[in-house]
Amino acid sequence: MTSAIKIEQLHKHFGSLHALKGVSLDIAQGEFFALLGPNGAGKTTLISILAGLARADSGTVEVMGHNVVTDYRAARRLLGVVPQELAYDPFFTVRENLQIQSGYFGMRHNNDWIDEIMTNLGLMDKANTNMRALSGGMKRRVLVAQALVHRPPVIVLDEPTAGVDVSLRTSLWAFVRGLNQSGHTIILTTHYLEEAEALCNRVAILNQGEIVALDTTAELLKSSGELKLKIQIKPNQLPLGLSSYVVKQSDNDYSLLIHKPAEIEHILAQLRMAGITIVDMALTKPDLEDVFLQMTSPL
């Protein structure tokens, strides 16, 4: 089957900055895919090239088998993008915006589908309201609706829940999950890693323009370690021998990733030998945030 997205050896420079260093990625149809990475990792550049908003220096990108440069009309028709920036056209109402967007994609008489999207995104009450009068959360919903107006099989959501309240986040994810279940391919970038962990079946982590991890969510979680030991110590000085375990530190809280329970005894022994007292301790399963921090840590 044709890949939903196929990226091969993508390079992009901005002046002296090598923003993408030969990224290759293959996303199958029907996947719920997370593209994660710290700020400046190259996620938005990658999405911009995919959407035709930026041009690669070299490499190819295809959407459902259509090259985004040489066959851009077909590629763009098959792709819906929710941009990160909260952009809106202040001259029009919500419905006018959606009708205009349909027309751009060559769709006439699209009102039934527009009504369906607006109902699902809770926008029906605001259909005839000017975009200027909407709250930030409502504008975000319209951005999502605009990306879906031409029924694209591949949908890219670039941080769609940034600055959005909990109720919208929940309803948005229910809607997007429904789209994925009905066969749409979803590519998501987000800073809320718990969202990616809960929703996505595969994850790529991009760091400094390179893919540093690419696997199913379950395998990535396994690879980072079996367990996470969270400790609070006094005095607040972790022995040097334990620093390789540390995945996160805030004040006197340390999160240590370990592969087998026997390692706990080793850690405790080291703390005892250094004369350090444990104030608090918890043993949990690692989450995607731990994997993310491990993969993107400068060390």
Partner: protein
């Protein structure tokens, strides 16, 4: 083609929704020019034999309003879209750069013609100039507006902030339109300024347009048409090259 028609419709709807600012305001401004200049100069100036100053002034004011508004339409729409970020809504769909350019220019021409017609209608209260050659009149109105619409696309793509666009408007468009023979015949100028005026493409737009009314002009309407057409082709080609390369739009 549906994408192109929609973009054109969106651009027309955009200026129509704020028609107080985009149509009525320039009509009132032109009316004020006419009232003041015709009051002060009507008794003293006769440019062409048998043509009163007020009648002479009307085509100039109509054309000046058309040109300034055609430029304002495409340039302000693009800069607003770029600054607010909603330009992505036009860049994401399968709209070609030729369709993009043509839609913005045609919308600019439409605004120019609507404003021009508005100015002409209100000035009829003062005097109605004759119409000697309707074809030339319409041709110069459309092509003149198209040149300024294309220049507006260029300025809108190039400018990164309103300040830069204002500089383009105030230091290029305004002098070119004011010093083009709207208020006078260039033959009344000293030789140096007369020679300089002939390098101003807006002069040919206004002179050719005026020929459509009175059947007399400072230079031949064919020459004027050639200059205006040449400007349009050159500007369009330049804009299309920039758009094809994605200059300042697709990074």
């Amino acid at each position: 083609m549906m994408g192109f028609y929609t973009l054109l419709y969106k651009e027309l709807l955009r200026f129509w929704k704020v028609s107080f600012q985009t149509v009525l305001a320039p009509v009132i401004t032109a009316l004020l020019y006419l009232m003041i200049f015709s009051h002060v100069l009507a008794e003293h100036v006769q440019v062409y034999p048998g043509v009163g100053y007020t009648a002479f002034l009307i085509p100039g004011l109509v054309m000046m309003s058309m040109l300034q508004n055609a430029f304002a339409n495409s340039s302000s729409s693009l800069i607003q879209s770029k600054i607010t970020g909603n330009i992505v809504f036009v860049l994401l769909p399968p709209i070609s750069y030729v369709e993009f350019f043509t839609a913005y220019v045609l919308a600019a021409v439409a605004r120019g013609l609507v404003v021009g017609l508005g100015v002409f209608v209100v000035t009829m209260a003062f005097t109605v100039p004759p119409i000697a050659h309707l074809f030339w009149l319409v041709a110069f109105a459309i092509l003149g507006s198209a040149v300024m619409g294309a220049l507006g696309v260029l300025a809108g793509i190039w400018a990164d902030k309103f300040d830069q666009l204002a500089a383009f408007q105030n230091f290029l468009i305004m002098p070119l339109t004011f010093l083009s023979g709207v208020f006078y015949s260039i033959h009344s100028l000293p030789p140096f300024w007369l020679a300089l005026s002939k390098f101003n493409p807006v002069f040919y737009m206004i002179d050719g347009f005026r020929f459509g009314f009175f059947g007399v002009s400072d230079v031949s309407p064919s020459l004027s048409m050639l200059v205006v057409l040449g400007c349009f082709v050159a500007l369009s080609a330049f804009c299309l090259i920039l758009l094809h390369r994605g200059y300042k739009l697709r990074h």
